[in-house]
Symmetry: none
Subunit: 113 residues, 2 copies
Amino acid sequence: MKKTKREKLEAAGWAVGSVKEFLGLSEADTVLIEMKLALSRSLRDRRKKYGLSQVQLAERLHSSQSRVAKMEAGDPSVSMDLLVSSLLLLGASSADLADAIRGAEKRTGPRAA
Amino acid sequence: MKKTKREKLEAAGWAVGSVKEFLGLSEADTVLIEMKLALSRSLRDRRKKYGLSQVQLAERLHSSQSRVAKMEAGDPSVSMDLLVSSLLLLGASSADLADAIRGAEKRTGPRAA
DNA sequence: GAACTATATGTCACATCAGACATATAGTCA
DNA sequence: TGACTATATGTCTGATGTGACATATAGTTC
């Protein structure tokens, strides 16, 4: 079964080195976390840029100070949806979000691939 | 966090740019939906590019065919986290995701990612 | 020191999302 | 026709995210 699936994959055009993307679940997880952290930093930067406290931002988001703190801390209980919608409510454009996300590739050491 | 029925209508409609005014969606809500739709399209494109069925993709994501269908349909029950992590498992890079997201504003027709 | 502000952390009830399953629809082919 | 494949849709239950609250920590001003 698995052999068949893999054969189909490679026959469909997967580069040999890229097939590991399917198997490397933890690698995808890492990139996802990096993306969230990038959005977290972007949120904090944007909040400070407008001179808002976490409480003031929470009011604007109809949320709470503790959740804003967790958003900025990259807490696992914060979803990407919440981060993105919060950034949008702070005036970010989709291009701004794209910029924040673009550099979030996984980093395994001092050098980035 | 108010959504659900609006998103359901919108996801079913596909005339996103005009639905915003029809339903009176906020700009942030609209952009978030557009971003999710952009990721949905990107997921479908990527799956087809590798010649996978929804069932085959579901197996690799450790998910189900119905959820893959909902992801690609832009169903409101699908989170951005799920879309992004699925794309990452399909080999997308953070730069790929940035590209998909960047054009998600003021879009009125389909486009490949 | 007290009082005040800003941020962080832990917990909880409730809402939302997840995978799974059944089933419906649509297209293909013998 | 019927069998087969791919995709879509509805719903259930367990898992996860959310806002709210209490409380802790840190810095500032008096």
